[in-house]
């Protein structure tokens, strides 16, 4: 029975690693268990784990929440948690106090009420999870989602009015005479 199951796993791994660099590492192996072990040794061995831990630590150093539209509080805490998880997986977990210290120190939003809430949270919350829940509520209250401004429209989006400066542009592959070219150039002059 093991042989049948092992073959099923091997087939799955082959399928998932087809045309990727990973297939090299178990090309000659005929057992699913051995194939997965080979992948784990290569992609999750001591060197790789060291690299991942360094990456996680670097992420913890550089990550901040400053309320920019591109990096929301949700993304910030998810990244923090992700880094904690990696360190935990490779047997270097952080103490809860250390997690909390990182969370609060890296909340560098200048909003006065937010700053005040961080201080309150520091005294109230004893775990990272509870602090995140508290701050998420604060963020939702202080910075409600605002719709992003629309991006500038290009000439290609002007499908309804298919005319520019008096020139028909509904078919851009047609022949434009010199006067039309001149008008089109004039229309682009201000850009």
């Amino acid at each position: 029975m093991f042989n049948i199951d092992s073959k099923r796993v091997l087939t799955l791994l082959k399928e998932l690693c087809l045309d990727t660099e990973a297939e090299t590492w178990f090309r000659n192996i005929k057992c699913g268990r051995e194939a997965m072990k080979a992948l784990q040794i290569h992609y999750d061995g001591p060197d790789e784990s060291k690299r991942r831990k360094e990456e996680a630590r670097a992420k913890l150093k550089t990550i901040y929440y400053k309320h920019k539209g591109t990096f929301t509080f949700e993304k910030f805490v998810t990244n923090l948690y992700d880094a904690f998880q990696i360190l935990e997986k490779y047997e270097e977990p952080l103490y809860e106090q250390e997690k909390l210290r990182l969370l609060f120190n890296k909340c560098q939003n200048a909003h006065p009420e937010f700053k005040q809430e961080v201080v309150i949270c520091w005294t109230l919350c004893k775990t990272f999870a509870s602090a995140v829940v508290h701050l998420k509520t604060v963020v939702a209250r202080l910075f409600p989602d605002v719709a992003k401004p629309k991006t500038r429209r290009n000439i290609s989006s002007n499908m309804s009015n298919k005319e520019l400066n008096g020139v028909d542009i509904s078919d851009i592959s047609r022949w434009f005479d010199s006067s039309e070219i001149k008008k089109l150039n004039e229309s682009q002059a201000g850009r």
Partner: protein
């Protein structure tokens, strides 16, 4: 599976009729049933009140010991016993009521579950919670029909941790030939200090499979 049946007593022919022995014991002695065979006979006759003919029919069909019940499929039990019930007695028929079918399914579920989790057959535990196992057997038969999780994405070096986890989740949702989750094939070594009893059912199954 380490099954420890009650010791068989050597009974002199004169003592067979003595009230010292229960009916199932007398029958087991006459049939010379030992070990798991004797235990199954006791469970069916004494605890579930199967008739002597019903027990004989099960033995005739090849289910004479506890080990024979392991991996017997839920639906197959009903279909076999229904088939036997519908047959006339002169053509090997034997009636099994719905309750008896459910009790046998529950017993099969309990024995299979203990065997897949590397646990010994606990006679007292079974007796104490026998009714519950009827529901467990039914629920498990429904779970077996559930579809597997979505297949993992193609391998990506940058997201090894997530990819490995997705492979484990997928294989966890696929049942292997021996009834354990297919993820047993790629299991990692278990911490030696961990207590077996503290592990959840799925983990026990994964680490019991070969």
């Amino acid at each position: 599976m380490n099954i420890q049946p009650p010791p068989a007593r050597a009974v002199p022919a004169a003592a067979v009729a003595a009230p010292l022995f229960a009916q199932w014991e007398i029958e087991a002695n006459i049939l010379n049933l030992q070990g798991e065979h004797r235990l199954l006979h006791q469970l069916l006759r004494e605890f579930h009140s199967f008739s002597r003919d019903q027990c004989a029919k099960l033995r005739e069909e090849g289910y004479s010991s506890l080990s024979d019940l392991i991996n017997w499929k839920f639906q197959e039990i009903r279909s076999l016993l229904k088939d036997l019930s519908n047959r006339p007695s002169n053509r090997g028929g034997q009636r099994f009521g719905d309750r008896k079918i459910k009790e046998l399914q529950a017993l099969r579920w309990f024995i299979t579950d203990r065997s897949r989790r590397g646990l010994t057959f606990d006679f007292d535990l079974y007796k104490a919670e026998a009714t519950q196992y009827i529901s467990f057997a039914e629920i498990d038969s429904e779970i077996d029909k559930d579809e597997a999780a979505d297949k993992p994405e193609k391998f990506k070096y940058a997201s090894w941790n997530k990819w490995e986890e997705s492979v484990c989740i997928y294989l966890d949702s696929v049942i292997s030939k021996n009834g354990a989750p297919l993820s047993y094939v790629i299991r990692k070594d278990l911490d030696v200090e961990i207590e077996w009893e503290s592990l959840d059912r799925k983990t026990q199954q994964i680490y019991t499979a070969p």
